[in-house]
Symmetry: C2
Subunit: 182 residues, 2 copies
Amino acid sequence: MTGMLKAKPRGDRFVPPPKLPPPTPVVDLSPAEMRLAQDLLFFGYREFTSVADKVLEELGLGRAHHRALHFIGRNPGITVSDLLAILRITKQSLARVLNALIDQGYVAQAPGFEDRRLRLLTLTDAGQALEQRLFDAQRDKLVQAWCEAGPQAVEGFQTVMRALMDRGARAYIDGTGPAEDA
Amino acid sequence: MTGMLKAKPRGDRFVPPPKLPPPTPVVDLSPAEMRLAQDLLFFGYREFTSVADKVLEELGLGRAHHRALHFIGRNPGITVSDLLAILRITKQSLARVLNALIDQGYVAQAPGFEDRRLRLLTLTDAGQALEQRLFDAQRDKLVQAWCEAGPQAVEGFQTVMRALMDRGARAYIDGTGPAEDA
DNA sequence: GAAATAGGTCAGCAATATTGACTTACTTGG
DNA sequence: CCAAGTAAGTCAATATTGCTGACCTATTTC
């Protein structure tokens, strides 16, 4: 507390800046901050998914169908096992939505080339169109939020969300983005 | 397209800087960026909720119970109507979880002072303890992510998530944070 | 006293998830 | 070639969480 007495007159030559440099160089880990994050994740995620839900409702599909369409669309030729590993649901849960999507002509199956036990999943033209429609709804929401928040905030958002994920999800994200692997 | 021919030699006097100033002052609205955001929200939200789900599972409770505990804890004395407005579920859906929480001694009801039709909801001591336990699990996750991402990213995360929410949710967030209204 | 409001309740339905057991088809390794 | 392992499909049963619509009680308000 000896620093409390430093503010003695030095000849009026030096005037300190009115505000400290950048906000604060340490993370605010207060309960209030954590509570806010809880709320932000709940409300933000709800809003984000709801815009796609409206489209799905017209077609009698649910959020689970959307997820399957999304990950098949992004990973054409994915196997059932790999899709299960991404979604982390049981085979039975996936079967229900997958059969519905196949019956309604949104998803196609093809046996693997080298291993014919595999069923490689792809979107049909109708499936791509539907996935695009769902994506557009969410994209509109994101575009609005992105423009409202600014590019720096978007980068921070991505950093935090990635830090929130577990290793498996990070590995998926890293492999699926720029490389467009296969 | 006349600008295409501007790059003629000017005497080797002027050397342009090797890199453009800050990253980019505009938002990247490419499909790749939007796809990434979809994945980040899905995986991040799943991970965030899963840490609380583990605790809930021990007690035979679900995510719906957690949400009710959370919003009652943050808004002591909230009415059933207001809770329904926040959660945006039906009276019947709330009644199921609310009755379970009351039966198990986590939530207490009291008639309103001026309007005795109202049932003001509060957490019992056990309810506060449980909510705290659930909060701690999610807080640990957030602390890890916060520290990994840094304070600037956290601010960006908050900005984006807020921009994603609808007006009703923003109004709730604004009223529930620093003011601790009532 | 009638109408509106806050809340509770009942019956039934749908979507999504779970577990466990079993079958079929195919690949692999001794 | 045959046995074991793997990928996938399926069946039956169950739980959670949401929905609708109808109806009831207590209380406030006009």
